[in-house]
């Protein structure tokens, strides 16, 4: 057999192991599927919870689409209209905003626990890859959605982010140095953040990213169902429970509690109340930029290091982490779950630290008062 045929055969075998479609039957997926019971069993609910918040985003996003106007002249006014005059419009907006934060929180928690539980071990590499793609898509949803209300913080934060992308070109060698500027121009669509940018972000947020997400999510869920739940701990779990109906029933209760929590948050705390009110005034290109423009909280892990450390150092760190995210199944193939848990805890500490204390750290390091 030629080398080419051998390679093709290996690829087919690899894919057959990763997507065992012969298990795609009622007996395997429903009757025989088991969920291991151990100290990390709670983490099995995070994937379902992420899916729940994604579905909330889809439904509330469709409602918002009925009234939102993706033009620089009308975007902010349409958001104001939704909040003030559309029946339950403010509630739907709040649901959408709170659910976006909950979605990204669950995505990150799901990724960290899946890492600690070595849920990427063969033959689950593609499940991990799908999850990593969805994590990136989640951030992309957050980034593109942030611009749509076209208020001060939205436009200025987008400008800062695109400027950072542009600047990263200075640290790349040769022809690569022009790539970030080229990417920025494609995203921006014009010399500055304007109508072309808003149109692009809108298209990405409501069509392209959801389509990508549905595709990757479908593959991710199908693979999980075919392979079953990962072992989760180093020692083989002694106990397990039936996926159907016991795990499903518990999952249902978790979804119910999450829905209730989300409802109360959306009714009682407008998400905007966490920020200063000038940030939410209509963007005025000729007006003064409000002080303290920041990205959403889930970008603080990158934003504060950029404020504190040299740009090239942070970009290098983020690039390494980004690449590592996608090659995790091969890099940590032989690492024990104990070590992976320690690494996940360090990562969690970093994310929590930067999210809650990033400003304080920045003020201490730079010797400024925010």
């Amino acid at each position: 057999m030629s080398e080419k045929k051998k390679g093709l055969k290996r690829l087919i075998e690899f894919m057959q192991d990763r997507m065992p479609m012969h298990k795609f039957n009622f007996e395997t997926l429903v009757l025989k599927k088991e969920v291991p019971l151990h100290r990390m069993s709670w983490a099995y609910y995070l994937g379902g919870l992420t899916l729940f918040f994604f579905l909330i985003q889809v439904v509330t996003g469709i409602f918002l689409l009925f009234y939102y106007q993706p033009t620089v002249s009308d975007a902010h006014a349409s958001i104001e209209y939704i909040s003030k005059y559309v029946h339950n419009g403010l509630f739907i907006r709040n649901l959408h905003t709170w659910a976006s934060s909950c979605l990204i929180f669950c995505l990150m928690a799901h990724a960290l626990t899946a890492f600690a539980m070595k849920a990427f071990a063969p033959p689950r590499e593609l499940i991990w890859m799908g999850g990593a793609i969805m994590l990136v898509l989640g951030f992309a949803f957050g980034f593109t959605g942030y611009l749509l209300p076209w208020h001060q913080i939205a436009v200025n934060a987008t400008k800062v982010a695109l400027q950072s992308l542009d600047e990263s070109g200075h640290y790349l060698p040769g022809v690569l140095s022009g790539a970030p500027h080229y990417i920025k121009e494609i995203i921006q669509g014009g010399p500055d953040v304007g109508q072309a940018t808003l149109s692009r972000f809108f298209a990405l947020h409501v069509v392209i990213l959801p389509l990508l997400c549905f595709g990757v999510l479908g593959m991710h869920l199908l693979s999980v169902q075919l392979h079953g739940m990962s072992q989760g701990v180093d020692d083989l779990p002694k106990k397990s429970e039936k996926f159907f109906p016991f795990f499903i029933l518990k999952d249902l209760i978790v979804w119910g509690v999450a829905f209730l929590g989300l409802f109360i948050l959306a009714v009682c705390i407008p998400f905007e109340s966490f920020y200063a009110f000038p940030f939410f005034q209509a963007y005025n290109a000729l007006g003064a930029t409000p002080e303290g423009i920041k990205p959403e909280w889930y970008f603080y892990f990158a934003y504060y290091p950029l404020e504190i450390f040299p740009f090239w150092l942070v970009m290098l760190g983020m690039t390494v982490m980004g690449v590592l995210l996608f090659i995790t199944p091969w890099v940590f193939k032989k690492t024990s779950r104990r070590v992976l848990t320690i690494l996940a805890l360090i990562m969690t500490a970093y994310l929590v630290g930067m999210t809650f204390f990033g400003q304080a750290i920045y003020e201490i390091v730079k010797g400024v008062k925010g």
């Binding site: 429903v30 939410f280 005034q281």
Partner: protein, 190 residues
């Protein structure tokens, strides 16, 4: 020209109080720790100077007359200054123009002079408290989050109770539907 209007325009053009009041902004920003801007009291977030809507340069003759009258406002009057928003006018009509200008040296005294019950945006946080908190007194979605939470929770207790019951019954119903499905499945596969 009408002598009264001449006097009014003279007052308007000679007045030095057409300037914005950065002292107030700086004081309440420092006290609250929140970024605030002129939109707290003014129609235009950029302040009163300029030719954009809500700024002095954009006013017509009638509005300029109102502006001049507002500069003579005494406490308890009901005057509408066209460059101020509802909260700015509340300050003006409660404190009076001269006293308000005088308080540039002591902005911390302003909240104490305002009504303890007035709440223009009906968000449960009195206007004087919103001024201290650095939040928008005219936006019901802006306020200190836990204060809004308490107010909105009490205000919407019925809806919250109903959705709680709906969720409990919904989950209960689905729970037993799945169990019924399980029993039927087992019967089918016996």
């Amino acid at each position: 020209m009408n002598p009264f209007l001449t006097l009014v325009f003279l007052i308007f053009f000679c007045s030095t109080t057409a300037m914005a009041h950065p002292e107030y902004l700086q004081y309440f920003k420092k006290e609250s720790g929140r970024a605030i801007n002129c939109a707290m009291c003014h129609v235009n977030p950029e302040g009163p100077e300029g030719v954009n809507p809500g700024q002095i340069g954009s006013l017509n003759a009638q509005e300029k007359k109102m502006l001049a009258l507002a500069r003579l406002a005494k406490p308890g009057e009901n005057i509408k200054n066209p460059i101020l928003n509802d909260f700015g006018n509340e300050l003006l009509n409660t404190i009076g123009h001269d006293k308000l200008v005088e308080l540039e040296k002591d902005p911390g005294a302003i909240p104490g002079l305002l009504s303890k019950t007035s709440d223009l945006d009906h968000d449960g946080i009195p206007d004087y408290q919103e001024l201290l908190d650095g939040t928008d007194p005219l936006n019901p979605n802006d306020g200190i989050p836990w204060k809004l939470f308490i107010h909105n929770f009490i205000k919407n207790w019925f809806q919250i109770m109903m959705i709680t019951l709906a969720t409990i019954f919904g989950v209960y119903g689905l729970y037993y539907t799945i169990l019924w499905f399980l029993i039927r499945t087992k019967e089918e596969f016996k």
